[in-house]
Amino acid sequence: MLLEVEDLHVSYGKIAALKGISLQVGAGEIVALIGANGAGKTTTLKTLSGLRTVAAGRVRFRGEDITTMPGHRRVRLGLCQVPEGRGLFPGMTVMDNLAMGTYTRGRADPADLQRVFDLFPRVSERARQAAGTLSGGEQQMVAIGRALMSRPELLLLDEPSMGLAPKLVAQIFSIIAEINRQGTTVLLVEQNANQALGLAHRAYVLETGRIVVTDTGQALLGDPGVRAAYLGGPPPG
């Protein structure tokens, strides 16, 4: 297993946000984490990237225990997060944003840059512009591009569809599938459960800090309980 999370507890002061979460992500998978607002999806990702301290439990990445490792050192191991909302540096140019992806390695490799431009042709057209002036969809592309520049083994995506028009959502999701085909493992947090389950090999459903169901994406798409709670009712027909 690339990532193993064991009985993870995280609290904000006295409020427990995660009450013992266990999950695994295997190399090459797309795994989705779905659930309502406040279920602990973002907290889980923040804890994995080292922005939240762990109260109890264990996180192992590529066999190494990273539970207490500072966030900035996890990037070097190949764990890279695209945070929720604007996952970029709005005052810096698109090019500088992409370069920040290779901060831990030094200079950007032209091949990595070419890969990002191939995935997101729009990004190359905007290379000299300040990232904050881009449209929402373009910003999300730069954010994912920045993460790819760090050559992640595991890409943590927090709500990549947030605030995007349906057409753009479909585009971003097909690009996530392409990134995965090229060999990057993906852990995806989404409110847009329909899209996420359609894309993911496996998924976990979070409810108030606990994992309540886990199965393949397809099975969860057909699960009546999941449909009622997260997908807006029973399947048509």
Binding site: L51, H72, V75, P83, F89, D96, T133
Partner: protein, 291 residues
């Protein structure tokens, strides 16, 4: 007409002192996202340390100044680690931090007053001869101040655009959480920023003392609100904005002194600030990332 040129020259000197101090304040604000009211104390510390090293301890002036600047940087790092960082770690309520730095400023002022006394101080070096450059007239000390400030601004520009530390500082100022998940050691960058901020405050204090000739332990605080005006005018946390704000405030206040009297210099600085903010609330150079 010649009085106008003369005051324009003074304006450049004041702008240079303001630029040194406002860039230091602005860099620290950008990275840590809270205002440091104790910044004026670091200006005073710069003056007083240089005075001690060069008067009672008889070091040459350049050496005293060169030693003072990194000492101020180190003191800033210690103050951050010991006093401010514990509050930041506890959740970093910005209002608490504002009050903490305000209290810190009172504490530092009183420590300096206890250590150096309440009298007036002056450096052993004077202003030097008057030099005429075209329509301008500067003393040697004033030319050195302008030259040093210009060199430091170029240095800060190169730091921010060409170095890893500078990129990390810009990244933290733009999006601190993303900076951390990008692999930036935010603790180290924060400490480096405080060091730099302290160094710039120390240098600005020495420049201010050279320019006003006689100073006391509160002279740094006297300038602080004009520094705030320059920083806010430029756009809070925007380093290049702070340089521009310093230039505008420095030149306009000195030139206005010809017409309305020098007692109203600070009033003019704030009048500019109020008028500009009414028209452009985001400052001259708005930040894309900052709220």
């Amino acid at each position: 007409m010649s009085i106008l040129w003369l005051s324009l020259g003074f304006g450049l000197v004041t702008a240079s002192i303001l630029a040194l101090s406002s860039v230091g304040l602005s860099l620290q604000f950008g990275v840590t996202n809270y205002i440091n009211f104790a910044y004026g104390a670091f200006l005073s510390l710069g003056m007083l340390l240089t005075w001690t090293l060069t008067r009672p301890l008889h070091l040459p002036f350049w050496l005293g100044a060169a030693l003072t600047i990194p000492i101020c940087g180190l003191v800033a790092v210690v103050v951050d680690r010991v006093v401010l960082e514990p509050f930041v770690r506890r959740g970093g309520n910005l209002l608490y931090l504002l009050i903490v730095t305000f209290g810190l400023s009172l504490i530092l002022d009183n420590i300096m007053q206890a250590a150096w006394g309440v009298g007036f101080f002056r450096f052993a070096v004077g202003q030097g001869a008057d030099l005429h450059l075209g329509p301008f007239q500067f003393t040697v000390a004033q030319l050195v101040i302008i030259g040093v400030a210009a060199a430091v601004m170029v240095g800060v520009h190169l730091l921010l655009t060409r170095t890893r530390l500078g990129k990390a500082m810009r990244a933290m100022s733009d999006n601190p959480a993303l900076a951390r998940v990008s692999g930036i050691d935010t603790k180290r960058v924060t400490m480096s920023t405080w060091f730099l901020s302290g160094c710039l405050a120390g240098a600005a204090g020495i420049a201010l003392a050279l320019n006003i000739v006689s100073f006391q332990t509160t002279s740094g605080d006297d300038l602080l609100f004009v520094v705030f005006a320059a920083v806010i005018l430029g756009g809070i946390g925007q380093t290049y904005g702070a340089m521009l704000g310093a230039l505008v405030i420095g030149v306009v206040t000195e030139v206005s002194a010809v017409y309305v009297g020098s007692a109203y210099k600070s009033d003019v600085a704030f009048l500019i600030l109020v008028v500009v903010l009414l028209v452009r609330p985001q400052g001259l150079i708005p930040a894309l990332g900052k709220a």
